[in-house]
């Protein structure tokens, strides 16, 4: 059975000017111990999917559909019940570790609190486990860091504290939402490598939300591409890199500059992502797609399997 099973999830926001469709009918699942990358540009809805199933959506959001964690429905669950999952089975690592940590509390307090509240641990037990976690994320001096405030640590160290917090009590799924975007390049590899080791040692399922395709390969086996609130393609790392069938996936791969000698102009995708208040009636990528035909302007392609592991939402997937 799938560990996490999301079916027909939609998230919309009601505004004075009308409604914004941030996530549109998204279905996917994650197996125990699996690593999934969710790739898309800003506004693609990739964070909204996971915020919705953690109950972290904004107040004016309307969430529809289903998300089952080990058979238990999460959507619509009251906060008190949701907290059992958020504190134990599910954890999230946010993009900016400075705003995600409480600036008034010492690192140690923030780490031990989780175990005391959610797992009923005594302070001593919690402290021992917290120090172990700090050791596991390779902080140089756990005893000392335990007494420090977030502002005393560098960005990379703060993100390690966030990861230590995420692994406390061994959750079954860690959602890392752009965990390296705010960090320097040298630290970026540290963090991905660390997440990989945690996955290997504990078999934790991982979701990496990112806009950076090259980063994905270090951690994830499967990739889910999102555009304008929909899944446009999903497949294994190999499939996406070598035989991507959706024009958007292909264009994004080409637009990412490789570390190679200057070869003139970069391949760019003309135009810009659609306004989520005024989505096109047909395929959302059609206005930017070189291969778009009449059918693409009027009807929305469904996600269709092209192999056991690869699905594409494009009318002309077989030709691509």
């Amino acid at each position: 059975m799938n560990f996490l099973d999301v079916r027909h999830l939609s998230v919309s926001f009601t505004q004075e000017q009308g409604s914004v469709q941030a996530v549109r009918d998204v279905s996917f699942s994650i197996d125990e111990g699996e690593t999934l990358a969710v790739v898309g540009e800003s506004g693609a809805g990739k964070s909204q999917v996971f915020h919705a199933l953690l109950g972290l959506q904004a107040k004016n959001a309307r969430v529809a559909g289903s998300a089952k964690l080990a058979g238990q429905e999460l959507i619509g669950l009251p906060a008190t019940q949701l907290n059992q999952y958020r504190g134990n089975a599910l954890r999230i690592i946010f993009q900016d570790p400075m705003t995600a940590l409480n600036p008034y509390l010492k690192i140690g307090v923030q780490l031990t609190e989780i175990l005391q509240v959610h797992q009923g641990a005594s302070y001593q037990q919690a402290r021992t486990q917290a120090l172990q976690a700090l050791q596991e994320v390779k902080l140089p001096n756990p005893e000392w860091n335990f007494q420090q405030y977030p502002h005393e640590l560098s960005g990379g160290m703060r993100q390690r504290v966030m990861i230590a917090m995420a692994i406390l009590g061994h959750p079954r799924l860690i959602i890392a939402d752009e965990p390296t975007t705010a960090l320097d390049v040298t630290v970026q590899s540290d963090i991905i490598s660390l997440l990989k080791k945690i996955h290997q040692q504990h078999g934790t399922s991982m979701v990496l939300i990112t806009h950076d395709i090259p980063l994905v390969a270090g951690l994830c086996e499967r990739i889910m591409m999102m555009y304008a609130g929909k899944i446009v393609e999903t497949g294994t790392l190999q499939e996406i890199h070598q035989q991507a069938r959706h024009p958007y996936t292909r264009a994004l791969l080409q637009a990412t500059p490789a570390n190679q000698r200057n070869s003139g102009k970069l391949v760019s995708i003309a135009g810009q992502p659609p306004d989520p208040r005024q989505l096109p009636t047909g395929c959302a990528f059609a206005p930017r797609c070189e291969k778009a035909r009449r059918q693409c302007q009027t009807a929305q392609p469904e996600l269709t399997a092209v192999s056991d592991t690869q699905q594409v939402a494009c009318f002309f997937a077989e030709e691509n």
């Binding site: 960005g155 390049v185 540290d190 490598s193 090259p214 990412t256 490789a258 570390n259």
Partner: protein, 265 residues
């Protein structure tokens, strides 16, 4: 001929923290010089000194052999016209209460006040097309545009006074991948067609390799390496540069996986 000579530049904050120390380099005419380093390495402080927004504690910066910090008002005015800047956060860098036309024309009001209204309008119209903007957008406000379009407006504002040097402080790091390539291509065009020189500050080493002629690596306020782009990427001389290059994610997924497996935390 060198456009800019940076000589033994030092900037000290709070009498103790050396943001820049003994930094010396020249920028050649028509050259794109990449400046890379991690946060806190002094990249933006260097840009601020060159824009005359920050006084150096030691050393000097010369524009065509004139010291930036010994200029009279007239020379300062001329310098501002020759050196323009584009910023990291494209929306933040535009005044939300001005229309696109006002934003793009603003440098002319201060730097070329002799122009008539008609001449200003003509200049604004001329600068739009190469930036991929249209006249129908002139009456709109910044919030009506996407990040990539705002960056185009920012570049149009910089280019309207026909500068010789463009200082770019992380100009694409806030943009989506598909839009980054558009802006990088635009900068490449400006370099090729107008012979524009650039200081290109970035932490994205793949983009720097693509765009820059030479690369300067800063670490804790000091230059650890300065070399032609290809020789720096192919045979880095300092340990820090090697570490920086080793941290670039690889395009080939199998190679990237192997790189992360081998990466020591």
């Amino acid at each position: 001929m060198d456009l800019l000579q940076v000589e033994q530049l030092g900037v000290t904050f709070n009498h103790s923290f050396k943001a820049l120390n003994q930094v010396s380099f020249n920028l050649r005419q028509g050259e794109v010089l990449g400046i890379v380093g991690e946060s806190g390495s002094g990249k933006s402080t260097l840009a601020r000194v060159i824009m005359r927004l920050q006084m150096p504690s030691e050393g000097d910066v010369k524009w065509r052999s004139d010291s930036l910090f010994a200029m009279d008002n007239k020379q300062q005015q001329a310098y501002r016209k020759q050196v323009q800047m584009i910023f990291q956060d494209p929306l933040d860098a535009l005044n939300p209460r001005m229309t696109v036309a006002q934003i793009i024309a603003e440098p002319l009001r201060y730097l070329m006040p002799q122009l008539s209204r008609k001449q200003v309008r003509q200049k604004v119209a001329q600068v739009l097309t190469p930036m991929g903007l249209s006249e129908s957008q002139l009456g709109r406000y910044p919030h009506e545009f996407s990040g990539g379009q705002c960056q185009r407006i920012g570049i149009a504002r910089a280019m309207i006074v026909e500068p010789e040097l463009l200082v770019c402080d992380e100009p694409v790091s806030a943009l989506d991948v598909s839009i980054q390539a558009q802006i990088i291509n635009l900068l490449l065009e400006l370099k090729q067609q107008k012979g524009l020189s650039m200081l290109f500050i970035s932490h994205d080493l793949s983009i720097v390799r693509h765009l820059c002629d030479r690369v300067l690596v800063l670490y804790k306020g000091e230059i650890v390496e300065l070399a032609e782009t290809e020789s720096l990427y192919q045979s880095p001389q300092s340990d820090y540069t090697r570490r920086l290059l080793a941290s670039i994610p690889l395009h080939n997924p199998l190679e990237e996986r192997a790189r992360i497996e081998a990466w020591g935390v």
